[in-house]
């Protein structure tokens, strides 16, 4: 029988079946961060052991400051120390601050080769879908589930439906992976993927690098889907070969043979199919407070009065009031207060190269931060001189971490500030109470930095 990639991976991980269509799934890899300390604490109090410490990797990313120097906030210092203590006593690999492999959990997993095709990977973070770029089944879980996985290496789950999103054609000049995923979310809606695992397919996806595929899968949750995946192929294998935790020698060959069986069968049936033409996608920005509120930069702020559905109209009016935007005004030209280039969506080497390509030889008109996703990304970027490109242009080059994406580590924007951001969420208050977020690609964010306005990057290139 023909099967989807999702079905192949899911069925391979069922340990037992329970009532109500629930399955007990085996978790191959578990990523942890400072937010996991609640779970470690409960486990310790209950006296439960960790079933497979060697299947876990932990890092400090959410709360750590991205300014150089020691951690000034005593609470954060305590959280990081707590994570270090728990991982130390349990024998879990931990990349702490200053450790060369430290970084955003969704950047380091792939970088270290921990993320592999066909595995089931979880993390107590909703952007865990990022790892689906390798043809893994990866999804975010809550804190109770983190505790459950630590103790049992398993998780009870209901099987989702599967939606295939096929992106045909080729991306035009100036269009990045971020524009593709923002367009997909705008098309299916912030709740369009609820109850589904997504498979991204088609020539425009196939032609993407791993960094680009990760950007796409990363934002699956912004369409409501816990998991998003791309079939593994030569691009995937070339990325993985030689990574520290990737299989080696004979094992590499055996793994490769398995990985080649993972892609969906040609006649596999999906519960829902969506098709987009990449050629029709333009550099995109969000105007509202949901990632679905995305439009080409050439468009105008939408008018709630033109919307028939009263609930949608009220929601748009609220979003425009929060964002301080006027219906009908062109998006391009909107003045921004600051720029953030980083996050698990867009902090990898290719993202920084794209931003540097725009920053080179220009000057930031507003405060602009570049926060590399990991120590490894930072070193690689510095080896290419990207840090100098940014600092020469007046951008700030910072230490790895989640930074301004999460609003919990001190890196926030002030109320009323308008941020051009490469992160994943433009929710009310996400980057600080009253802060206004416009999501966009790294190249578009760099264009906003050097002009001080939302700008069509194609006019600068």
């Amino acid at each position: 029988m023909s099967r989807t990639m999702f079905e192949k991976i899911w069925s391979r991980h069922v340990v037992a079946k329970g009532p109500g269509g629930q399955s007990l799934l085996y978790v191959d890899r578990h990523l942890l961060h400072e937010g996991s300390t609640h779970a470690f604490g409960r486990l310790e109090r209950k006296g439960h052991a960790v079933r497979r410490p060697e299947a876990c990797v932990a890092t400090a990313d959410h709360y750590v400051p991205t300014a150089p120097g020691p951690i000034a906030d005593p609470e954060v210092r305590g959280m990081v120390a707590d994570l270090e203590r728990h991982t130390g006593r349990l024998g879990i690999t931990f990349f702490g601050r200053g450790e060369p492999r430290q970084g955003i959990v969704h950047v380091i997993g792939p970088e270290q080769g921990v993320t592999q095709p066909g595995i089931l990977l979880v993390c107590g973070d909703s952007h865990t879908a990022t790892h689906g770029a390798f043809g893994a089944l990866a999804f975010g879980v809550g804190s109770t589930e983190v505790e459950h996985v630590l103790a049992t290496q398993c998780l009870w789950q209901r099987k989702p439906l599967v939606m295939r999103i096929t992106v045909t054609g080729a991306r035009p000049f100036g269009v990045m992976a971020k524009d593709v995923i923002l367009s997909i979310i705008a098309r299916i809606g912030a709740g369009g993927g609820v109850g589904y695992a997504l498979e991204y397919a088609g020539p425009a996806i196939r032609g993407m690098s791993m960094d680009e595929r990760m950007t796409v899968c990363n934002m699956s949750i912004e369409a409501g889907a816990r998991a998003g995946m791309v079939a593994p192929d030569e691009t995937t294998f070339a990325y993985l070969e030689g990574r520290p935790s990737a299989p080696r020698g004979d094992m590499w060959g055996r793994a490769l043979a398995h990985w080649r069986t993972l892609p969906s069968d040609p006649d596999a049936i999906f519960n829902r199919e969506i098709t987009l033409d990449a050629a029709l996608i333009a550099p995109t920005v969000t105007w509202g407070t949901s990632p679905q509120d995305a439009l080409p930069i050439t468009e105008r702020v939408p008018d709630p009065a033109a919307v028939g559905d009263p609930a949608r109209r009220a929601s748009m009016e609220r979003a425009l009031a929060y964002m301080g935007l006027t219906a009908g005004a062109p998006l391009a030209g909107t003045a921004v207060s600051r720029v953030f280039i980083g996050s698990c969506t867009n902090s990898r080497l290719e993202d920084l190269r794209a931003a540097a390509g725009i920053a080179r030889g220009r000057r930031a008109a507003v405060p602009a931060w570049v926060v590399p996703g990991s120590g490894a990304v930072k070193r690689a970027a510095e080896a290419e001189g990207l840090d100098r490109v940014f600092t020469d242009a007046g951008f700030e080059w910072r230490e790895p971490g989640c930074s301004m994406c999460v609003g919990m580590n001190g890196d926030t924007a002030a109320a009323g500030e308008r941020v051009a951001s490469t992160s994943n969420r433009n929710f009310e208050g996400r980057q600080g109470r009253g802060a206004r977020t416009h999501l966009m690609s790294p190249a578009m964010a760099a264009a906003a930095a050097v002009t001080g306005r939302l700008t069509d990057v194609r006019t600068l290139a």
Binding site: V15, G18, Q22, G124, S143, H148, A151, V194, G224, E428
Partner: protein, 202 residues
């Protein structure tokens, strides 16, 4: 986990779609210990002004809804971040049941793991309930998990679906971890098979 069987309580309507977990509890509060209580932080930045005072226009601040223990929401409530503190904040405020057309998938898991009941009903049903609650502020609903019904608001009882696994978990308040540990032989057998079939995973 405190078991849940039946609740009769005031229900409050929330009409906006896509209310994310950042709005339910802002990120800056997540570092607090569980014991500190998350109730006062629920919907913090829309419930309180910058000066800390209550916003009179926020639904849960209105006199008729102050005792609400049930929320009736619009599409995709609880989307976004996986933060379990969103559910802790709802529970600590006293809200035990959320009813809506769809919810964030991780939010739903977090609800059931913490003794909160998330009920999915068709969009028109949710809209009808919200309208009825708005028309008569302070109206109570009765949610009966055993019978899988929502009653009140002057309409015939609404039947809802809930999967047997989650229903049993809520009714008994069972410890899921203990349940899974009973499956230890199956887990060990799986691991033994995996070592043979996918040895590169260790």
């Amino acid at each position: 986990m405190e078991p849940f069987a039946r609740l009769t309580a005031v229900a409050a309507p929330m009409d906006l779609p896509n209310i994310d977990t950042d709005r339910i509890i802002p990120a800056r509060f997540l570092r607090r210990p569980r014991e500190s209580g998350f109730g006062p932080l629920l919907f913090h930045d829309v419930r309180f002004g910058a000066d800390g005072g209550e916003r009179a226009d926020f639904v849960l601040n209105r006199p008729a809804y102050r005792e609400a223990r049930i929320l009736v929401t619009a599409e995709n409530f609880g989307c976004g971040s996986s933060r379990e503190m969103a559910v802790w904040a709802l529970l600590d405020h006293g809200i035990r049941v959320v009813i809506g057309p769809s919810f964030g998938d991780i939010f739903v898991e977090n609800c059931f793991k913490n003794g909160a009941l998330a009920i999915v009903v068709p969009g028109e049903t949710a809209a009808g309930l919200r309208d009825a609650l708005a028309a008569r502020p302070g109206t109570s609903l009765t949610v009966d998990l055993e019978a899988q019904t929502i009653a009140g608001a002057g309409a015939p009882p609404i039947r809802f679906e809930v999967d047997a696994f989650r229903k049993h978990g809520l009714l008994t308040g069972r410890d899921e971890l203990a349940l899974t540990l009973e499956q230890l032989p199956a887990i060990e057998a799986f691991e033994a098979r995996r070592r043979v079939e996918m040895p590169w995973l260790g």
